[in-house]
């Protein structure tokens, strides 16, 4: 793509068009859609057991309830709706399928055991209590350690053990390189299990067309095209007969970029009954059954020179993948993410890793903002601090000595990922400067105690994988993850513009940014561009919105699509004006002669010719219409980067961590809309604060889920958000269209390690080592007590 220099709207803050309806409560989410006549409401009987045999299901009483249409078990559905599985082409992965409704066995609390079909959601709920299920409880495993223990109950007997995926990698001569290091450090890091917690839980409604064979599926998803392909294939439908539409989606965060059993089931039941079928998830179901994330254990060993430079790194990652693989990602997602991303911004040239995904009797895990990266950076950034403490070096200096330097770009990291551009060192220096790092260190008392609280600073440099294209997904085995996204850019007969994008907005502001891009490229007013997405019948095919890809891939495609239409406008206008198309420029809703701007046409005048609304001919060989479609497959990945620096105070008596100051420097390449980028950084950072300090899904040893409500699973709100000082660096990519990189996940990825490191810095003098999040007050008090006891024991 040739350099684009002449931006007019790209790079400017435009207030989000979405906000006028979102903030006034006018958006139409799934449960706000008008309901078709004869709608069937679903409710699911959930397994109360982590592992059990289903001996019998008595549905008679539920069926007898007025308003209940039917009650179906896994047996009743077996013929229509077989189990489903992701398509993974990766050595070391052994697939198993996931039933839509359980048959014979349940493998996690919350698994669907039967489905109620009723005339109202109330009747459906009433019927739930009347379904009698007889279970034979079986032994269960909930944790990675229990899943790996010899003789552990096996989640899927066909596999023989609980390791569903294992992968290994080593650079040549790794052992020798490791042995050459002067100092060896080793630490085990771990992260609690969390989940995305969208404001709007999931829901779906399948609506059969009464006169055709088609079905429209409305679903609160991030991946409408992938959902359509998978369901059509699974149910043996012609893909053209299934239309997937996303209404307003109240947050996704990765949780909604999986295909869920209920989405398949509503379509299957709509076909079976010839009626519309709807299901809306409640918060308990969200926390019990939507994909969870993290619950990783990372053992990192590094060999280091006395100068603090890492000679070699050895990483062992285990992830708890729950009871079933999900589509399209499977349990390989987080395992491969963590090991591939750990080298991050650092020049690690000798590397060995091993990763394993362990099945347990818990809800499946999958994608969540940051995927693998918060874990990877908790480990490597935690190690940077430990190297500093061991060698008596300032932790910032250790990072300076290891980071990929400006002169190293473009740089190919040790696992083969190309970093085309980046600002790792400038970003670190800027973050340190913003927080006044040197002054803080000079003033920091030896015992780190100020007014009864321990003060510390934590740093996290991160890289952020974004805009992953086909090669990036293939290398990780995701056969049903296209990589490209697309757009159809149409200049309508009235001269205004419609942009159809293959993506699906879940609050990111696509309707603003994509309009901004098309308006910029076509030289029309922003108000004259309408963006349409989240509808497989209207938009061309694409991958969807997740993994920081919307701007890079969707935006890149809109730029290219607009350029293609721009060429056609110039050709037709040139013919109409009798001049060379190359002399023509677009701007102000017109196409005009660069050297004689008074000479030109409005886009409407050009469109009238293109749509045969006047008596003017088209140039020879030109077709009617004024539109272009573009499919953009970006490079393997494009790497954004940034630095978080945070100062905390830790109260040793009550264990509270207070964030005193917080600086974020981020670099997402070319910025389209600064305010929207800032919003992404803020939101993700606050989610990271949640993961670092409060969030955790808790299972007991027997696989019982102990906190399936927002009373017990705490997420941060606006009231918990600290003031963030934001520093922007803009280093355009040289590999992507217009130099755009992603910006959606770095906030979370940076926050978790930075906060953990800040607490670790504050408490280092007490002998406390911070290796696990979340860091709740009780955890901190426990760690301090243990460290004191250990010192007393040693003395």
């Amino acid at each position: 793509m040739r350099e684009i220099e002449d931006f007019t709207l790209i790079g400017k803050t435009i207030l989000r068009r979405e906000d006028s309806y979102l903030l006034r409560g006018k958006a139409q989410f799934l449960d706000d859609l008008p309901e078709p006549r004869g709608l069937i409401h679903l409710a699911f009987v959930l397994s109360p057991h982590a592992s059990a045999e289903i001996l019998a299901i008595d549905t008679a009483a539920a069926r007898a309830l007025p308003g209940v249409i039917d009650v179906l078990t896994g047996e009743d559905l077996a013929a229509d709706v077989p189990p489903y599985a992701p398509v993974i082409e990766l050595a070391g992965y052994r697939g198993v399928a996931r039933p839509v409704v359980a048959r014979g066995r349940v493998r996690h609390v919350g698994e669907y055991v039967a489905v109620i079909l009723a005339e109202s959601p109330y009747a459906a709920q009433d019927a739930l209590d009347l379904v009698g299920v007889e279970y034979e409880p079986l032994p269960a495993v909930a944790t990675i350690a229990d899943g790996l223990a010899p003789g552990a109950p096996v989640v899927h007997e066909a596999l023989g053990d609980n390791v569903i995926f294992r992968t290994r990698f080593a650079t040549e001569g790794f052992e020798a390189r490791f042995a050459a290091g002067e100092v060896v450090l080793e630490e085990e890091f771990s992260l609690g299990r969390v989940t995305g917690v969208m404001i709007e839980p999931r829901g779906c409604m399948a609506w059969p067309d009464p006169i055709a064979t088609g079905i429209t599926l409305w679903t609160s998803t991030q991946i409408p095209h992938i959902v359509r392909t998978a369901i059509a294939e699974h149910l043996g439908m012609a893909e053209a007969n299934l239309r997937v539409v996303t209404p307003a989606v109240g947050g996704g965060f990765g949780t909604k970029c999986h295909l869920y059993p209920d989405e398949i089931l509503v379509v299957a039941l709509a076909r079976r009954y010839g009626r519309a079928v709807k299901w809306v998830q409640d918060r308990r179901e969200d926390l019990l059954t939507n994909v969870h994330a993290r619950e990783h254990v990372l053992r990192l060993r590094v060999a280091v020179g006395r100068d603090g430079v890492i000679a070699a790194a050895d990483l062992d990652v285990r992830t708890n993948c729950g009871a079933y693989p999900n589509h399209p990602f499977s349990p390989t997602l987080e395992a491969t993410a963590a090991v591939r991303m750990m080298p991050g911004p650092y020049r690690i040239r000798a590397y060995r890793y091993e990763a394993a995904s362990v099945l347990t009797h818990t809800a499946p895990t999958g994608a969540y903002r940051g995927t693998g990266q918060p874990s990877a950076f908790l480990a490597i950034e935690g190690m940077m601090d430990r190297i500093g403490r061991r060698l008596g070096l300032d932790p910032a200096e250790v990072r300076r000595r290891n980071v990929v330097r400006p002169e190293d770009f473009p740089y190919v990291n040790v696992v083969g990922v190309r970093y085309d551009t980046g600002s790792y060192l400038p970003s670190l220096e800027r973050g340190l400067e913003m927080i006044g790092y040197d002054a803080f260190r000079r003033a920091q008392p030896a015992d780190r105690l100020v007014d009864g609280r321990y003060r510390g600073i934590g740093i996290c440099n991160y890289t952020e994988v974004s805009g992953t294209g086909a090669p990036g997904w293939r290398v990780r085995g995701f056969a049903r993850m296209p990589g490209f996204d697309s757009s159809r850019v149409v200049v309508e007969p009235d001269g205004r513009v419609a942009v159809y994008v293959s993506q699906a907005d879940a609050g990111q502001g696509h309707f603003t940014t994509f309009a901004q891009i098309a308006a910029d490229r076509l030289g029309v007013a922003w108000e004259d561009v309408t963006v349409i997405e989240g509808d497989t019948a209207k938009t061309p095919y694409g991958t969807g919105t997740f993994a920081s890809r919307g701007s890079v891939v969707g935006g890149g495609s809109v730029i290219r699509g607009s350029a293609k239409v721009g060429e056609k406008i110039r050709r037709i206008a040139g013919y109409m004006l009798g001049c060379e198309p190359s002399r023509l420029a677009l701007g102000g809703g017109r196409v005009f002669d660069r050297d004689d701007p008074g000479r030109g046409l409005t886009l409407r005048e050009v469109a009238e010719t293109a749509y045969s609304m006047n008596n003017l001919p088209l140039p020879q060989g030109e077709e009617h219409g004024l539109e272009a479609t573009d499919y953009y497959d970006p490079p393997m990945v494009t790497m954004a980067n940034g630095t978080h620096v945070v100062e905390v105070a830790v109260d040793p008596d009550d264990g509270r961590v207070e964030i005193l100051r917080y600086a974020v420097v981020h670099d997402c390449g070319r910025v389209i809309n600064p305010k929207i980028v800032a919003g992404q950084v803020h939101g993700a950072t606050v989610q990271g604060i949640g993961e670092a300090l409060m969030e955790e899904i808790v299972y007991d040893g027997g696989g019982q889920h102990l906190n399936a409500s927002l009373l017990d699973y705490l997420i941060p709100t606006a009231m918990d958000a600290p003031d963030l000082a934001l520093g922007h660096i803009e280093t355009p990519s040289i590999d992507t269209v217009a130099g755009i990189k992603g910006a959606a996940e770095g906030g979370l990825t940076g926050a978790v390690p930075a906060i953990a490191n800040a607490v670790g810095d504050a408490l280092a003098g007490l002998g406390v080592s911070i290796t696990r999040v979340p860091l709740r007050p009780s955890t901190i008090v426990g760690l301090i007590a243990a460290a004191r006891a250990a010192r007393a024991g040693a003395a």
Binding site: P121, Y122, Q125, D126, D129, D282, R283, R284, D653, D654, G655, R656, L693, M694, E696, V698, L706, N707, S709, L711, D712, L714, P716, T717, M719, D720, R776, P777, S778, V781, G782
Partner: protein
């Protein structure tokens, strides 16, 4: 998130409410602010057959001074109490605890009496009521009775109200001149339900010596717990640093908290000791109000 079917009554007076309770009591629930009851019904943890909505009983919507007491009717909202000049002037402990009770939106609807009747061991107001030795006015068609906090709070989510009764009013004694108070809690998040907390009042004589201290803890067990041993220590030994440390230790030893997903029992007990120490130090250091 869909409640089971229920019959709904919306009486316009206390008398009407009480006669409905006399008929439906055993299978009925009073609905006041709905901030706890409605979620519990939506989750079908509670499925009362009858709801008696008292929100139209305007005669219960008051916060007023009656001699040495502040009387709060069953429809006095938490948010109204928070904004009340009368409460700020006469019940500093209640005023400082209210911002910790849920969030502004829940306080706009939630009532003082509803929170007390709900008797959540992690709620702030029961400990405030215990520390202030509030009086609970319980009414039924049979008549009225008045009890103190020890009798009112029976166990977690259980009070002493009989099926045909309701809590009509709570009465707090006006703070003595020169009284000092402290409300402290720690949560895993900066708002919403806490892990544990302490409500404290201190009266000081003209010479600046302790003339009476009351300490109540939340998150300390099944109900709010008066920390009698710690109170006795301070009343006997005064507010020396050593006495305060000993009181904190006595508080820690006296409570029997439970563990849950938010914190261990050990942490809670230790925290209550820490908060007792902080509350006593803060009150000792504070001048008369």
């Amino acid at each position: 998130m869909k409640p089971a079917a229920f019959a709904y009554h919306r009486p316009a007076s206390l008398e009407e409410a009480l006669s409905l309770l006399a008929v439906h009591g055993a299978e009925a629930r009073v609905l006041s602010g709905g901030q706890s009851l409605v979620p519990l019904m939506n989750m079908r943890i509670l499925s009362p057959a009858v709801l008696i909505d008292i929100n139209r009983c305007r005669e219960l919507a008051y916060i007023r001074r009656e001699g040495g007491m502040i009387a709060c009717g069953a429809l006095a909202r938490q948010g109204e109490a928070e904004a009340s000049g009368l409460v700020a002037a006469t019940l500093p402990l209640l005023a400082s605890a209210l911002p910790h009770v849920g969030v502004r939106a829940s306080r706009n609807f939630g009532t003082l009496c509803g929170s007390l009747a709900h008797a959540d061991p992690l709620a702030e107001l029961p400990s405030v009521a215990a520390a202030l030795e509030a009086r609970f006015v319980i009414a039924s068609a049979r008549g009225r009775r008045e009890v103190g906090a020890e009798a009112f709070f029976v166990s977690a989510l259980t009070n002493c109200i009989e099926p045909d009764e309701m809590l009509a009013e709570v009465r707090f004694p006006v703070a003595a001149a020169g009284a000092r108070t402290a409300f402290l809690e720690v949560a895993n998040r900066g708002h919403g339900f806490a892990v544990a907390g302490v409500a404290a009042t201190l009266e000081v004589d003209a010479a600046g010596r302790c003339a009476g201290v009351r300490l109540a803890a939340m998150g300390a067990g099944d109900t709010t717990v008066r920390l009698a041993a710690a109170e006795a220590l301070i009343e006997d030994e005064g507010l020396s640093a050593a006495a305060i440390a000993a009181a904190g230790e006595a508080a820690r030893a006296a409570v029997e908290p439970t563990a849950d997903v938010h914190a261990s029992a050990e942490y809670r007990a230790g925290l209550i000791g820490v908060l007792v120490g902080r509350a006593l130090r803060a009150m000792a250091a504070a001048g008369p109000r």
